[in-house]
Structures are given as C-alpha cells and as structure tokens.
Symmetry: C2
Subunit: 578 residues, 2 copies
Amino acid sequence: MSSNLSSFIFCFCLVFLLQSACASKARHLKWELGYLDWAPDCVQSFVIGINGQYPGPTVRAKAGDTLVVEVTNKLPTEGVVIHWHGIRQLGTPWADGTAAISQCAINPEETFVYRFVVDKAGTFFYHAHYGMQRSAGLYGSLIVNVADGQKEPFDYDGELSLLLSDWWHQNIYQQMLGLSSIPFKWIGEPQSLLIQGRGQFNCSLARYSQTTWTYPWPETMCAFNNTQCTPHVLRVQPNKTYRLRIASVTSLASLNFAIGGHKMVLVEADGNYLEPTTVDKIDIYSGESYSVLIRTDQSPSTNYWVSINVRGRKPSTPPGLAILNYYPNPHTKLPAIPPPPSPAWNDTSYSISFARKILGKSSLNPRPPPVAQRRIILLNTQNKMNGYTKWSINNVSLSLPVTPYLGSIKFGLSNAFDSVVPPENFPADYDIMLPPQNPNTTTSTGIFRFELNATVDVILQNANTLTSNNSELHPWHLHGHDFWVLGYGDGKFDEKRDVKGFNLRNPPLRNTVTLFPYGWTALRFVADNPGVWPFHCHIEPHLHMGMGVIFAEGEELVGKIPLSALGCGLTRNLLIHG
Amino acid sequence: MSSNLSSFIFCFCLVFLLQSACASKARHLKWELGYLDWAPDCVQSFVIGINGQYPGPTVRAKAGDTLVVEVTNKLPTEGVVIHWHGIRQLGTPWADGTAAISQCAINPEETFVYRFVVDKAGTFFYHAHYGMQRSAGLYGSLIVNVADGQKEPFDYDGELSLLLSDWWHQNIYQQMLGLSSIPFKWIGEPQSLLIQGRGQFNCSLARYSQTTWTYPWPETMCAFNNTQCTPHVLRVQPNKTYRLRIASVTSLASLNFAIGGHKMVLVEADGNYLEPTTVDKIDIYSGESYSVLIRTDQSPSTNYWVSINVRGRKPSTPPGLAILNYYPNPHTKLPAIPPPPSPAWNDTSYSISFARKILGKSSLNPRPPPVAQRRIILLNTQNKMNGYTKWSINNVSLSLPVTPYLGSIKFGLSNAFDSVVPPENFPADYDIMLPPQNPNTTTSTGIFRFELNATVDVILQNANTLTSNNSELHPWHLHGHDFWVLGYGDGKFDEKRDVKGFNLRNPPLRNTVTLFPYGWTALRFVADNPGVWPFHCHIEPHLHMGMGVIFAEGEELVGKIPLSALGCGLTRNLLIHG
C-alpha cells in the first residue's frame, strides 16, 4: 500500500470516527411504570404501561448512542425490570434487564437507571422480564437508525413501525397461578391479537370470511369509538417505498403477517441485514423482528388490510387487523378487498420453507467462524415435576436463583446457585417422536460457562410433548449476542450427517430462532460478551415453566455493577452495617 | 413488711418466674405465601394464601412465647410483609411487618424471619401491610392464651374463633389503580361479607327477610357444595359457656355481629380485659377484636345463625352468615329463626352508645397516667392533590418513603424522609361540618417524634368529606402500643370543655378505636417502645389514600435490624462493595 493511500485511509477513518463521536449522544428518558385502565381489545381491563401509555413509548436512537432510561417503578407491590431485546449490552451486562439474572428487580417507588450503548442499527424492542409482566403489556419498540453519515443498504421514502402482541382477558397473576398449579391450568389461546396494542374482541370485522364480507362497516358490532382499540392506521402516499419495522412480543402466538394486495421485500431481521427476498406473507415468532420494504403501487382508491393470524397452534383467535391508509382516502374507509388469508395453521412445511428463505446479506454481516470449539445439544421436552407441568432442557427445568447470577458471580458467592453444570446432551436412545418414557424432570439453577471468545454451536432438538402426536413450536432467544442460524432439520439431529449441511456462507445473524415441531435448529455464536445471559423460549408461559438455560462467559471482566441491582438475596447481605 | 413475708413473696415470685420461663417457648412456623385459586364467596377468584390455606393458619401461642415465623414469598413478582396486629413488638420494632416503615418488603423467593415475643394474652391477628394485599386475603388469626399457671379472669368450657372480612370481585391491582386514578374510582361496597373466609354471593340465604324466609334450604340458589364457601360452622354443646374470639380484618366494612337468640358478654378487646358487659349485638370495626362469652342455653333442637351486617355505610352487601351448630343437630339443619336484624346502618347514636359501653377492667389493666405531656390533634379530611383524591391529617396526606423509616433513622440517613414535622393541630376556624373550603392538600413523609416514655394524647377530629353532608367512620389503629380510649364526642373537640370529661377511671385499653362521623375521639398512650410506628385508618383504601401518620420514639435504643430488612432504598446503598 502506498504511503499516500494509507494516509488517506487513516485520515478518512479519523474524520469518520470523530464525526461518529460527535453525532452519537446520550438520550435521556424518564419512565414511570404503572397500572393503566385499558381496553386493548375493547374489553375493559388493565395493563402495565409507561408514562400513561400503552404500549410503551417508541424509543428512537442512532447507532452509537447511549440510552439512559431512568425507570421508576410506580406499581404498588410488584418489582419490575426492563429487557432491551436485541441490544447486546457490550460491557454493560447489568443493564440487560433480567430479574434474578442481571439484576434484582426494581422495588416499588425505586428508580433504576439503564445506561447502555445501542451499538448498531436495527429494529428492536423492550419488554418486562419478570414473572409474566410482558403479557401484562409492558413492552414497546426500540428503533435504532444508522449513525449519522451512514446509510442503510436499501432506499425508502418513509418508515412505519408495528409491534405485534396477543392478549388474554384473564390477568397475569391468575395465569401464573394456573401454570404453577396442580392440576395444571393452561392459559389457553389468546382472546385477541393486537397490532400496536390494538385489537377487536368479538367484532365481526375480525371474523371476516371472503364470502360473508359485507358493507357497510359494521360499526354496531365493533367498538370503533373506543380510542384505545380502534385499528392502528398506517398512513401512506401512493407510489412510494416504505420500510415497515415489524416486531413480535407475543406471549404465545406465532403469527403470519400480510398486507392485502402488497408484496414485501425482507431486508432486515433482529437488527441484521438480510439478502433481500420478496414474499407475500411473513411468519413472525415471539422475539423476532423484521424490516420489510413495501411499494405503495396498488390502486390508491382504497385502503388495505394489514392482518395477523395465529400459526402453529390450532387458532381460536380471530385475526388482528390494522389499516394501510392510502392518501387521500379517509382512514375509516373500508378496504375493498378482504384481509389476505394465511396459510393453514398446521402447515409446518410452509413455515420451514419460509424460515429457510431468511438468509443473511453476507457482504454486510460478519461470517461465522468455520468451526466451533464447543457444541451443546439441548433437548426440549415437556415434563412433570412433583405433579407440576414443566418444560425441560436435557431433563433440567430452569429455576432462577434468589440472588441474581451476575452479582453472585461477581462477588464469588458460590452457594448462590447450583454449581453442577447442566447436561449438554441427552441420551442417544431418546425417542423424540414419543412422549417422554419417564416424564419426571429435575430443576436446577446451574449454568453453562464458556471460555471467552469461544465459538459455540447450540443444537436445539425438539421432541414430543406429554401429549401423544404433539410437538410445539419454540422461538428461542439469546441475550447478549447475535447468532448465525446454520440450519433447520426434521427429526433427530445427526452430527455426522447434519453438520456438513450447515450454511456457513450466508446464514442469517439473529437473536431469536424457531425450533419447529419434531425438528432441530442449529446456531453458532461467539461467546465474546462478558456477563451472564439467558437463552430461552420466548413464549412467556414456557419460560415461566422453566424453558431456558443460562450462559456465562468472561465473568472476571464484568465491571462495576450498580448498587441498585444488588439489593436482594446474598448480595444484599454484603451490607456495611451487617 | 416482715422479713418472712418478703422472703415468701420473693420465693413465690422466683418460682413463678422460673415456671413462666420454662413454660414459654419458641414456636417455629414455616410459611409460604402464594396466590391460590379460591372462591371466598363461591365466585371463582384468587387470593393470597399461606401454605395453600385461606384464610392463613390460625396461630396459637401462650403469653411469653417467642414466635418465629419464616415467611417465604412465593408470589412471582410482588413483595410482601406480615404485620402482627396487636403485638407491641417490644424490643423488636423490625418485626412489625410494615413495608416502607419497619422493613423492606420481602422479595419474591426470599425468606424473612419474624421473631418476636407475644408478651400478653389476647385475641390478635396478622395480615399483609403492603399495598392493599390485606384485601387480597392475606390474613389469619393469632390467639395468645395466658401463660401456664395463669388464669383468665372468666371461665368458659370451650373456645371458638371467627375472623371477619369483606370481599370484592375486582382484583386489588385494579382497586389500587382506581384509587390512584383521575378521575378517582372508588372500590364501592364489598360484594360479600365473609366469616372465616366464607361468604355466599348472590345466594338467597344471604338475602333473607323475616317474611320471605322459607324452607327447605334453598340449595339450588346457593353454592353449598363448594367447600371453599359453605358457611363456617361453630360446633357447640348445649348448656356450656363458650368464648368466641371475634376479629375484623375487613378492608372497608364496619360490621354489626350477632347470634340469633343468644346474648354475649364482652370480656376482652384487642388483648385487654373489659368490664364484663352483656349485649345483643356487637359493633366491630376493621382492626378490632373482641372476646365474648356466650351461654348455649337456647333450645338445642335447632341451630342458630351467626350474622354480620354492614354499619355506617349504606349497605348494598348482603349479610355474612355462619352457623352455630348445637349438638346433636347436623350442621346442615336450617336454623329455626332468621338471622338477627342489625340496627339501621346510619344509626350513629347506636354505634356511639355501643362504643361507650366498652370499658376497661380497671382491676386488671394499667391505669392511664393522669396527665399527658403532649397533645396532638389530628383533623381527618378528604382532599384533592393535583386532581387525585386523598385523605389527609391536618392537611397532610401520608406518603411512604422509599427507604423504610426504621433503617434510615437507625443509620442516620437524614435525607430519606421529610425532616419537617407535620402540623399537630389545625386552624381554629376550620368548619368540620362543611367540605374543605380549600380542598387542596399536600403530601409528606414527615413523622412525629416523641420523647421516650412521654405520655401522649391524640385527639382524632372528624370532619365533612368532599361531599356535602357526609362524614365517614374511621377505625384508627396504632402499632407498637396499646392506648386508653378516654372519650368520644360530637362535633369539634374543645380542649377546655372536653378534657375534663375524659374517662381516666376505667377507659378501655386498645390498639384500634373508631372516629365517628362529625365527632372526635380521644386516646392516651405512653411512648415507651423504641421504634417507628404508624397510626392509621385501618380501612385499607383509606390508608392507601394517605390516611395515617408516623410516630417514633427512642430511636437511639433500636437494636440490630436484620439485614434482610434493609435491601431497598438508601439502606441498600450501604453495601460493602459500593
């Protein structure tokens, strides 16, 4: 390299770095979390909201910014934490917002300051991570745009954001009680699907079928005068390109998302770029996010339905609807064509085929290391423990310790959790096509520890539940890292056969990936983020029933944990005045 | 005194003390607090229970025993504390079980050990003291019998215990939300009254009137096959004397208690002996307890109704019923006479006349000091604060600090609460017969401090609420002490006129006393218990709306507070690793 050229590059980089440094800034937010009277699906209920809003406010930042969120808990008796889903928390593991893992829950009337860098652009969100408070509505969007001077690798004229969720009329306390009861009481299917926190329970609009679809707008049967549940409106101009940021924080429902008459080009998933792919519909699982580009090239004489439907579980929930409102139509104008139908709920091959279409934009994403130093295989089973129904990983159902892991590891409190490492595989003769022969499971607070910077493969292996001929979908989410999705397969993972089929060329980089019924999913990540990180099924009741594991790496490099994260369990007993 | 006599007395005392010391013991209890699916009034709901029970287990001890209760919080996200109502906590102020006052709430999955001496015999109870968790059913009876070798000053053949409460179908989270909302949403009257945790919603039995009372037992209209809500049964033998221990933990309702066909002799209130008084009915307010003696001298050919009715608020709640079951009748046999009618709900003069009948057994109770060193006058008003509805004392609505008082005072954290002492009187020209001229109130965490061993008079002064021609009942409860009830009066307290009418001869010693509409109530206590002690309206929503004050005395004598009480607020920030 000539001296001139390298000087030029150096100067260019310097200018660029300075520019970035000047542009990135601290964004201060003050949030008060409290109960709100709310009717997300037009049925009066209550939610946990933020500053009087439900869903919580959309946070917007630029890559490199520091977010400083002062969270004050105004719930009368409940603790609370907020997890910043998809943000890796590089150097700030105590800001990951996971109760019993990264911090003690924030007590009522207390304030915890989440201070962390949003290091890269993408479509993220935030939500509660304690008990089943996410299901109570404590969530919102977190959108990180590219840093000043940077450019997205695709063009668009405008941007719209949609947060998808599901809703039950039973409160979360009774839901949690039922899950921890003998006999077990399942929460059932959601009463409503919500787009941007809005749904319509028992409204004929949401029970359309192409044949019974009639004008005029059946106002009398739907509560369109309730401002909390009128369908969300996406206002667009004709003949433009829009980026839709879609994220799912559902408690349970896997969704299929479509917009009547419009195709979508997938360009981003979980904050990482995708090889652009054109689709009619999107399967989106809890914990996932996508950006799609749509072209408003349809007839501007009408509006269009945006709809979500349940996938993977026999649906008893009507579709969730929003309105793509073409200028200059009034947003109340009924779309001329019905909401697009979704694939059959149990068409797993459709789902897998969709999942396989999601490929990383290899020119923009880091490539996976070619080999892993360690490979752990996690068998997902439904089990019984002393009469309680549990989900287990290699026959261990996760229980969380009283003292959050991060503090107990930092301060060497070795009796704060089980020192036995959970098994990293399952018996070779386990028949994944049958209910467990011996359904009894055990529980543990034990963790997997990785060498810092080790490349780790995780194989998620699905199996039959306690019910014959039943295996369920599980979207698994990893904190603190992105991972490459190396492949999906049917049946039992076979190391000899399946490893060579891994996609190392253009795997998508994600933080959430789905394990399909009776199948396996392979992922690879680099354990390069000092801290303690849960990896768990993002279905809220499944996690509540023990469906997760805990990873840790580089614990000796964890910096100073804020005192306000340490007021519980054994870390509390380090008080000066003891 | 002759040397012989004094030697005798000394020996007698020594033997007695040794005997007491041997007899008193530590009673260990292990409790797990959690949600329970329950139908207290036959309507499916959920409660906070203990070890799977609702109401919580009845605790029995002897005077002088040490209770050691290991409370483990199995609620998924809520903190919890347990207050031992009527136990003075001499030397153990950290065991008083008041969140934000005596301790940090117990975090989910954590255990707090309440260790304290029940120093005297009486009818007590325990309940939650955080948010409105008492209204969620977290309560139970605490019965302290006389020490071995001691004798009650009355005889009885058997003992029965009744805990009275009220019940709403709306959960406490929504109740608390409504109380803290603009516009204010009142919780309304209870759906049901419960005896020993059992009521019957929408059951014709509980809607009796003397004329419509018909046989047979209207099973079809009442849920008598639900074991959670069948009426509580008091099994008695004919021609015996029973001690009934009656305690009220209602959230709101003031009650009138009666037993068809039976008179009652009042002998104990709040753990102190009364001059025996025979009555037909008892007014009992939230926070109060009574022992009555009944003679089962009625016809043994039938059973009898035990009933409770709402007093002081226009009742929209049917009576709560239990069955006095005379041997050998089956307990399912319908009583021959209807439940006794109660006085008109708004017959305040009846209530005051009943209150005045409650007199201390002066031969057994300590007498009040003849004069007080300090007298504070507490005006009870309903107010507005930034649009919120509040209750205020001398125009200050109590807010609780983030750091519990006991810890912040012990460790000299002077900025943990307002240093300004709240006013100890109100303007002389305040018209108690009208809504407040200026309804705006302020809030404070400030406290009243007393010199150790000072005799203090408190005058509770009632007034009109925000609504014209309305003044409400308030049962006030003092922690850490008993007090003498020196008198009740109508209208505004006049020091010159009213002090000389104080009953210093045989005032009852209590921990809870009622303030009647538009009236005043005078009480006296000795500030002899080092610690921090709330004095508050025992109506759960009223306390939640700020109706209380905080007393403190002898703080320098407070011993070592358990670390587990200090994990919140500023005391947490005393961590070693800070």
